[in-house]
Each structure stands twice: as structure tokens, then as C-alpha cells.
């Protein structure tokens, strides 16, 4: 980069006013000093210039060296043509003696940039015998000359670590500004904005302006419920810490998300198996209306109750622990508590590894839900109906290995799946519904084979899982969709992994 000339200006009187006037002949050289901007003028310049893209046209560049030309030397030089950062040169991918390679040149420029010491990097070249000398011209990172603030607190400026004399690091400043904005949003200032502006004031020096706009404090005007006959019970589950999520308080989305889960659980306990619950916010000025939209979907009753699988004790012992009966309103907590009692029984009987999986057949027309308790002892093998006498095993084929986070027990996973029988007939597919399936891995929400098929997958990965009947829907099946003793094949794709 060219060095700017020193302080003194040379101003030559050139053109008079108006296009029609002939330029006066130049008879004198006038030497004048530049106007030194006042602090107010500098503040205006910095505070009106946002960290916005500054664009130039596609500037013509020099012809790059022929990729067959040998690099005779590599240097890093500053604007004054002084060698700098010589210790960096050996680590650059452009090396003397190699043929010039434009992509290595780019990688070298990135390497120099990544030190954080330079505001600009330009690759220059000049002939050197039959080869070429490569020079990386660098402009040092600028220094903060003055920090101006507009409505930004001392704390905000301090937490951004922008101060006079420090290196001007726009990337870090931008990230810090977004984080501070987030903290304002969490405190109810939903329109808060932090702008960073800068203006160059000399070679290598820049004024910075931090301008904050908090906007109004946005508070909740009302919390309403639609579509439910159990508003009082659901409203009772709203939690309000420090006045948040209550009329007059500020919005806390994490809190509302958490409360939504408890509300859904309550509805399940009231028999609303097909329920949907979601909240939305409507804003008017500095007031928010929070609305929970509920679709109850009708009360479901218990249909058939069945015990299946590896019963280690007489059936009556398990039946004594099942407190719900046919015709009762379905209550998920009650079913869960009874299953825990069965687990305790198995543990007391010296079988702590027995898996107890609740399966259900839902009939939306009759609004009934059959509850099937399946016990599986992993230390036993159950002969498959397809190959009597042979232990049927779960088969997992890694079709596409994923590269993202790995799914483990306790994770909330999102998958797409297609379920088929061995003859290729599709019995279920989340893909055709356009709705990925979300569940907690290891939470007994799905058949054991499905759970095991997903465990260990990485996000982006695809598996084909063949599930024998005893790890699927067993001897009963799911009439009419899944016949008894069916082997099932699932094609799975893991879309995401998150906390439970």
C-alpha cells in the first residue's frame, strides 16, 4: 500500500467558479495547513459511519504470475516496504523453490490474516530472473485513537474491551455488541440495538463510536389460553421468577418453553392423548400478549391392558402393581408410576437389567389407548418366528456415516424414518408426513429396536435397522397395521441431537 504524503499540503489554485469561466493561470504556489477536525466533528464522523460493508468495484489487478513460474523469494513487508513478521514466513504454504500456486497464495494470505495483527494483506509479485518474487504487503491492525459513546453505558463499553490505545478489532467488537444486545433483550428491552461505527483519523489510527439504543421496556399485558376447558389448571403451572412471565413482567421464553412441557404433561394426565399446545406472542407498542393455543383432541380411555415378554414372576404379581384398569381415563403419570413399581419388582427379584417398555395402540375413532407392558431381559434371547431356534438379533447397517454430534441416552433426537416390512411394503414414514419425529433416546418412548438403532448415530448419518419381533411389536403386533411377530426394517436419518 502506498504511504500517504506528509502533513503539508500542496494546493494549486485550479478552477474558478462555474463551468463557463476559463481557469486562471497558475502563478503562485499556495501552501496551507489541513483543517484539524474538532472532537465534535470526529465524533460525528465515527458515529455516522457504521461497521457497514464498504464496497469498491472489481478492481483490476495485475496479471498473476504464471503457475509454472518458480518462486524465488517470499517476503512480508509493510507499507513502508520494511520487512516484518519474518518468523511467519517459514510457516507459509508459499515457499521459495516451489512453482507458484494461486491457492497456496490465498492460504498464505489467510494464515497472515489469522494472526490478528494486520488490517489488510495484499499479495504482490515482481519478476526475479526466470522466476517471481512474492511479497505479502501488510497494513498493521489499527489502533483506537478515541472512543465516543452515544447513550452507551460505561459497563457496555468496558465489556466490549474497546479502549484508547488498544488494537481495533472489528470482528471481536461486533460479537461483543451482539452479546450485549442479547443481554438487553433478556431484560425486556426487545428493540435494543448496539451500533459500532469507526472513522480513520490518521495512518493506522481510528476513532470508534459505540451507540446504544435500548428502546422501551416491553412488558406482558396479558397471558391467555384458547381452546381448553382446563385453563385454571394450566395457568397454575405458569412459573414466574422475579416477576417474569406474568402481567407487568418481562418475557422469558426459556421459562415459557419449560412451562409448556409441564402443561402438556398435565393434559396427558387428564387423558388428552392427541393434544397440541403451543404459545405465541403478539406485540402492540411496548406491550406483549402471550397466548397459549391448546387443542385438547378429546379424552382417551384405557382400552386393553396386556403384559408381555420375559415375565420373571407370576403374572399376578405384575397385575397387582397395575392400578389403572380398562375404561379409566388415561393418565400418563399413573401409568408411569405403575411401570416404576414393576421396575422395582424386577430389581428386587435380582433382575435390574430387565427393560420395561410401555407400548400403546391408539384408536382415535374410539378414543381408546391400549397399554401393553413389554418386559425384555437382555440376558435372554428370544427365537424369531422367522427362523425358529435361531436367536434374532438387531441388525444395523451404517448407510451414510454422520459427521455431527453423536446421539446418546438422554438426548432429545430428531429423526426422519421410513418403516417397511421385509417385502418392501411401507407401514409408516415421517418423510411422507413431512414431519420429523422427536423423542428422548433411552426414554422408553419407542420400541427397543428403534431406540438401539438410533443410539450412537451421528447427525447427518443414515442407518438401515432390521428389528426382530421381540425388539419391535412382538407377538401381538399393532393390528391392523403391523401383523404379529413382524420383523421391521427402518431407514433412519438423524437430523439433530439436543438436550432433553
Amino acid at each position: 500500500m502506498k504511504r500517504l504524503p506528509p502533513l503539508l499540503l500542496l494546493m494549486l489554485t485550479i478552477v474558478g467558479c462555474g463551468r463557463a469561466a476559463m481557469p486562471a493561470p497558475v502563478t503562485t504556489l499556495q501552501v496551507a495547513h489541513a483543517h484539524t477536525p474538532t472532537l465534535e466533528e470526529r465524533k460525528a464522523a465515527a458515529c455516522h459511519a457504521a461497521l457497514a460493508p464498504q464496497r469498491g468495484g472489481l478492481v483490476a489487478s495485475a496479471e498473476p504470475p504464471d503457475e509454472h513460474r518458480v518462486v524465488r523469494g517470499v517476503q512480508i513487508r509493510d507499507a513502508a516496504d520494511r520487512p516484518v513478521a519474518e518468523d511467519l514466513i517459514p510457516s507459509l504454504p508459499v515457499k521459495a523453490g516451489d512453482a507458484w500456486d494461486a491457492s497456496h497464495g490465498r492460504d498464505a494470505a489467510r494464515r497472515i490474516w489469522s494472526t490478528g495483527k494486520y488490517a489488510d494483506v495484499i499479495i504482490d509479485s515482481k519478476p526475479d530472473g526466470d522466476g517471481v518474487a512474492i511479497v505479502f504487503r501488510v497494513a498493521p491492525a489499527r489502533t483506537v485513537e478515541h472512543v465516543f459513546t452515544v447513550d452507551a453505558s460505561e459497563d457496555d463499553v468496558q465489556s466490549m474491551r474497546v479502549r484508547e490505545g488498544a488494537t481495533y478489532a472489528p470482528v471481536a467488537l461486533y460479537s461483543a455488541a451482539r452479546a450485549i444486545e442479547g443481554s438487553y433483550h433478556d431484560r425486556g428491552y426487545l428493540d435494543a440495538k448496539l451500533e459500532i461505527g469507526s472513522a480513520q483519523v490518521g495512518e493506522g489510527r481510528v476513532d470508534v463510536c459505540v451507540a446504544a439504543r435500548t428502546g422501551p421496556l416491553v412488558t406482558i399485558a396479558s397471558i391467555e389460553f384458547t381452546g381448553t376447558t382446563h385453563e385454571a389448571e394450566l395457568r397454575n403451572l405458569l412459573t414466574s421468577e422475579d416477576g417474569k412471565n406474568a402481567p407487568g413482567g418481562i418475557l422469558d421464553r426459556d421459562g415459557l418453553d419449560r412451562d409448556s412441557l409441564y402443561m402438556a404433561a398435565k393434559l396427558y394426565d387428564l387423558g388428552y392423548v392427541a393434544q397440541k399446545l403451543a404459545y405465541r406472542t403478539e406485540r402492540r407498542g411496548d406491550q406483549l400478549r402471550v397466548v397459549f393455543d391448546v387443542v385438547e383432541g378429546g379424552v382417551y380411555h384405557i382400552g386393553k391392558i396386556e403384559l408381555r415378554g420375559d415375565l420373571g414372576a407370576p403374572k399376578a404379581a405384575y397385575e397387582r402393581l397395575i392400578t389403572f384398569k380398562r375404561g379409566d381415563v388415561f393418565n400418563r403419570s399413573v401409568v408411569g408410576a405403575d411401570l416404576d413399581a414393576i421396575r422395582a419388582l424386577e430389581k428386587a427379584a435380582g433382575r435390574p437389567d430387565v427393560e420395561i417398555t410401555p407400548e400403546s395402540n391408539v384408536d382415535p375413532d374410539k378414543r381408546t389407548i391400549d397399554v401393553i407392558v413389554v418386559l425384555h431381559d437382555p440376558h435372554k434371547t428370544t427365537p424369531s418366528a422367522a427362523s425358529p431356534g435361531a436367536a434374532a438379533k438387531l441388525q444395523i447397517v451404517e448407510v451414510v456415516p454422520g459427521h455431527g454430534p453423536q446421539a446418546k441416552s438422554g438426548d432429545r433426537v430428531t429423526v426422519h424414518y421410513k418403516g417397511t416390512f421385509p417385502d418392501g411394503t411401507v407401514f409408516d414414514s415421517s418423510i411422507s408426513r413431512g414431519q420429523p419425529f422427536v423423542f428422548v433416546l433411552g426414554g422408553k418412548a419407542v420400541i427397543p429396536g428403534f431406540d438401539r438403532g438410533v443410539a450412537g448415530m451421528r447427525v447427518g448419518g443414515k442407518r438401515r435397522v432390521t428389528i426382530p419381533p421381540d425388539l419391535g411389536y412382538g407377538d401381538r403386533g399393532v393390528p391392523p397395521t403391523i401383523p404379529p411377530k413382524s420383523t421391521l426394517i427402518f431407514e433412519l436419518e438423524l437430523l439433530s441431537v439436543g438436550p432433553p
Binding site: 500500500m1 502506498k2 500517504l4 502533513l7 499540503l9 500542496l10 494546493m11 494549486l12 485550479i14 478552477v15 481557469p23 497558475v26 477536525p37 461497521l51 460493508p53 464498504q54 464496497r55 469498491g56 468495484g57 472489481l58 478492481v59 489487478s61 495485475a62 498473476p64 494461486a102 497464495g105 490465498r106 494470505a109 489467510r110 490474516w113 489488510d120 494483506v121 495484499i122 499479495i123 504482490d124 509479485s125 512474492i134 504487503r137 472489528p170 470482528v171 461486533y174 460479537s175 451482539r178 472513522a199 480513520q200 483519523v201 490518521g202 451414510v400 459427521h403 455431527g404 454430534p405 430428531t414 408426513r433 413431512g434 414431519q435 420429523p436 447427525v459 447427518g460 437430523l495 439433530s496
Partner: protein, 215 residues
Amino acid sequence: MFPLLPVILSLGVSAMDVQPAPYVDRIAAVVGERVILLSEVRNRAAMVARAQKLDLSQLTESVLHEVTERLVEEQLEQNEADKQKIAISPQDVEATLEQLAQANNASVPKFIEAAKGQGVSEPELREALRRQLLEAALLRTHTSQLQRIDEKDLRNRYEELKKSVKDPKDLRSFDELKPELFNQLMQERVAQLREDWLAQLRGRTFVEVRVGGSS
């Protein structure tokens, strides 16, 4: 008469205001912690020019602007992929290339030849596929935000279609068109998801475009 010598130099002129000397390459854009070099903008612009059977100098400013913006988006995606440790292997790219060739009733070598005929070299083709697979992998982590398409959505779209045709009797029945309507709606929703997600990425990342198309 003395010749006119318009020389006005002052303090505080940004380095960007001064026409730089010719150079081989320089930083065209900063995207978070990464940079895009001008040669990358020029290479991509040259690819666009070849595809349109034009010379690079014939490309309009708005096309150059779009090329730069697209490179910025790709860098935003790459930054996000690095953060989430998502990567696309050469085997993934090869498998996709095979599928594409098959879909075009061609072998992989023939498909690559056809791409060359359109001005896209094999490395450029593989890199383009890698980027598309990466974007798809990143978008998949957001599919829970995709609104479910239900019967009502399909019916509404069908009704819109009926209004747009001259004679509704020429239109196939709803049941016949359902799969196409579903695909159309899904594509639109994925495109919207992509746009919203990129806007979010852009909002939380420092982006500075220095050269490569005017605003």
C-alpha cells in the same frame, strides 16, 4: 499557461479511497474470522461468465455483486459447519455425483464432460456439490422449524392454482396433483427456512465487503 495539476491530498483519507497499485490478490471480504480473496471472486465470476458464454468484462455490476454475496453466504455456512463439526467427505461427493449422473442417464465421466462443456471444470463441479451437501446438512439441523404441511395447506394451494388457470376444468383433480403440490410447498418452505437461517447467521456475524461489486 501552466498545465492543470489537480493534486489535493489530505489527512484522514481512507486507504480504500486511494486507487491501489496493481496487485496479484487481496482481501475482498471479511466474514467473521475468515477472509475471501479477490481471486476467488474473480474465479467464480469467470465461471458465471463462461456459463453465459460471456467475457468476464461483460458481466454487469449486479452480477458481480451477486457473486460476492454468494461467496459471503458460503463462507457463513462454512464457518457454521466448522463450529458444529460438520464436514462432507469426498465419498459423499462421489456418491452424489453418481446419483446425478444416473438421474441424467449418463455415466460419471460423461456427466463431468457435459459440465466442462458448460464451463464448469471437474474440481469446480465437485466443490459445488460439496457446498450443496454441506448446506443441506446444516439445514437439516433446523428442520424442526419447518412448518408441517397439512391437508388444509394443500387445499389452499390447489384453490390458488384453480384461480390462476384459464379454465379450471383443464386442471387435474386435487388427489392427482397432491404429490406435486406437496413437493412445491415443501420446496418453498425449505427455501424460506434457508433464507431465514442465512439472515440469522448474517445478523450475528461481522461481514465486511471490501471489493467485488458495488452496493
